[in-house]
């Protein structure tokens, strides 16, 4: 029996409804998949503040920008590849450059849509948005973090992207957890290797750390829920006492968490970084856990990487 799990979509749906009650400026936009995006509770509660644009994903960022410039707080929703990449130039010009207070919600991110295949997987959303000035990128690791992120998105001004996995994950954070944009959270202390992880694969990092503990290798495990702006000083603090870092993400190893941590390590710590994620290739169809295992996004890979780092010392 593992730890209790909770569903990302349910947490998002509940939180969206709650912020809708608290802030009447919150508006929801969908593109014909309100069911998959779990916005139906909000739509039912606030039918005059929810709009389905139809199968028109490149209009999500522009309509949201118009709403935001007129004082609304729009949350727009689609599967992550379409929320981010279909209208990427719209996000660049009309959201980021326009400094519009738009909240982008990419659902079923990474390989979490499993069998639907690479058209519906997102291996590049973090990389694409990291290079856009002014966008906050958030990737929750569990339901509680999701809930608090939705609140932060509503409360804090600025263009933001929520990278939401599909399905459930073990509850990583306890009841005392307080999410803040731009912070990292140390989940486990250890002096040998630092593991930075984001999204639902944080659970893999914790499991790997437990296994490594039994062979005398102590891992520091750090949840990095804000990919941008990345807290460089916190990354250094979490990593300066260990031999090197492992990054774990359900994203291309290029340009995501691994790339961001490697940039900081290269400039400031001069220590090795081993990146675990999706190799730079398109994915395939199957169940998400099978796909992750196949691309090396697994507890075993993390354990092996930690042993390699120990061997280097």
């Amino acid at each position: 029996m593992g730890p209790p799990t909770a569903d990302f979509g349910a947490a998002f749906a509940d939180a969206l409804l709650e912020v809708g009650k608290a802030c009447e400026q919150v508006v929801v936009l969908d593109a014909d998949i309100a069911d998959s995006c779990r916005t139906e509770a909000f739509r039912k509660a606030f039918p005059k503040r929810a709009f389905d644009l139809g199968v028109a994903e490149q209009s999500l960022p522009t309509f949201a920008a118009g709403l935001a410039l007129a004082g609304k707080v729009p949350f727009y929703n689609s599967f992550a590849p379409f929320a981010v990449l279909r209208g990427l130039d719209m996000i660049r010009q009309s959201v980021a450059y326009n400094r519009a207070n738009v909240k982008i919600v990419g659902h079923a991110a990474g390989q979490s849509m499993g069998y639907t295949g690479p058209s519906h997987h997102t291996v590049e959303d973090i990389a694409a948005l990291r290079a856009l000035p002014g966008i906050v990128i958030l990737a929750p690791c569990d339901a509680e973090e999701t809930r608090q992120m939705v609140w932060a998105m509503a409360e804090v001004e600025g263009a933001m992207y929520l990278r939401l996995p599909r399905g459930a994950a073990p509850n990583v954070h306890g009841p005392d957890f307080r999410f803040e944009i731009g912070r990292t959270y140390c989940l486990r202390r250890g002096g040998d290797v630092t593991i930075f992880a984001c999204g639902d694969v944080v659970a893999l990092a914790l499991e790997a750390a437990s296994r490594l503990d039994s062979e005398g290798l102590q891992c520091q495990v750090v949840d990095v829920p804000t990919l941008k702006p990345l807290a460089a000083e916190e990354v250094i603090r979490e990593g300066e006492h260990t031999r090197g870092a492992i990054t774990v993400e359900d994203h291309n190893v290029l340009g995501g968490l691994g790339g961001a941590v490697a940039e900081i390590y290269a400039e400031r710590l001069r220590k090795p970084v081993l990146r675990i994620g999706i190799p730079d290739r398109f994915t395939e169809s199957d169940e998400a856990p099978v796909l992750r295992e196949a691309c090396g996004l697994s507890v075993r890979s993390i354990v092996e990487a930690a042993r390699r780092l120990r061997g280097r010392a």
Partner: protein
């Protein structure tokens, strides 16, 4: 020449030659300012795209829209989005004429730390409601703003100017369909139909005809007018405002490079430097036009 500010959104009274003459003189001023800008700074400009929409921008900013230039963020102001962002200097000219910023800002046009970027930037230029430049987007943002206006029951209206070449962008039609489905009667689009895009005449190449029929089929109230005629523009703006449950579009038939004798109605490179003699000729033509408007037509 400052045009007396009307209370906004009122039909230009027919045969009120005083107001019309004031707007004509303002249009002369805008064109002169842009010619001098290109000449004095020695820069290339989108003359064709700017000069076809001078009357449209002039009537919107100096007569039609409700604005408070001393309070650019006045919540009840009418909004305007220049979807064809490459005509930015023409927008800057009317904004300066309204008093949103001093004319001296033109000296730092397209210069580091200046407030007048190559394309509109709402964070830098007072009076600019949306940053544009990537075609096919400002129009959609205007529809989003129109949605907010309707949700709030706000008094303001949203205007946007797009180009005919821009109608090649799929995002225009996606947004057009959504705006009609949402019945956004808060939105008035003006389409600068000068029949040329960057690479030449659109006919037989990247044609958008039948244009009026397309917009009507997408559920928009379609009006057509001579985009250089202030009375016609005012009549169309008024009709658009009366329309309920539908967004409106005014197809403004215009002439590219209008007012530059060497280029008027002709295809030129989209972004070009005007030869000195052609610039001088255009300025002389404007001076003549100004004298006609102030003194009455010259004899003979």
């Amino acid at each position: 020449m400052q045009v007396e500010r009307a209370p906004g959104r009122a039909l230009l009274p027919h045969r009120d030659e005083k107001i019309r003459t004031g707007l004509e003189l303002a249009a002369v001023d805008q064109r002169r300012k842009l010619l001098e800008l290109g000449r004095d700074l020695g820069v290339r400009l989108h003359y064709g795209a700017m000069f076809s929409c001078i009357e449209i921008l002039t009537i919107l900013y100096l007569y039609w829209m409700r604005l408070r230039p001393s309070e650019p963020d006045w919540p009840e102001r009418d909004r305007f989005i220049l979807s064809k962002g490459h005509a930015a200097p023409a927008l800057y000219a009317v904004l300066a004429a309204c008093g949103f910023f001093p004319e001296s800002e033109f000296r730092r046009f397209r210069k580091l730390s200046g407030i007048l970027q190559g394309h509109p930037d709402r964070t830098k230029t007072p009076g600019v409601d949306c940053s544009t430049g990537s075609l096919g987007q400002g129009f959609a943002v205007a529809c989003g703003m129109g949605l907010a206006a309707r949700m709030d029951g706000a008094a303001y209206r949203v205007f946007t100017l797009l180009s005919d070449g821009e109608c090649n962008e799929g995002s225009i039609w996606e947004a057009a369909l959504i705006a009609a489905n949402l019945e956004l009667d808060t939105v008035t689009a003006l389409l600068d139909r000068n029949r040329m895009s960057s690479y030449g005449p659109m006919e037989g190449r990247n044609d958008v005809e039948p244009l009026a029929e397309k917009w009507a089929a997408f559920g928009w109230k379609v009006l057509e007018c001579d985009g250089h005629d202030f009375f016609a523009l005012s009549t169309a703006l008024s009709a658009a405002q009366e329309c309920r449950s539908k967004p409106s579009i005014i197809v403004c038939h215009t002439i590219k490079n209008r007012g530059i004798p060497a280029a008027e109605g002709r295809h030129m490179p989209s972004n070009y430097a005007l030869e000195e003699r052609n610039c001088r000729e255009a300025l002389e033509r404007l001076d003549m036009r100004e004298r006609e408007l102030t003194d009455g037509p010259a004899d003979g």
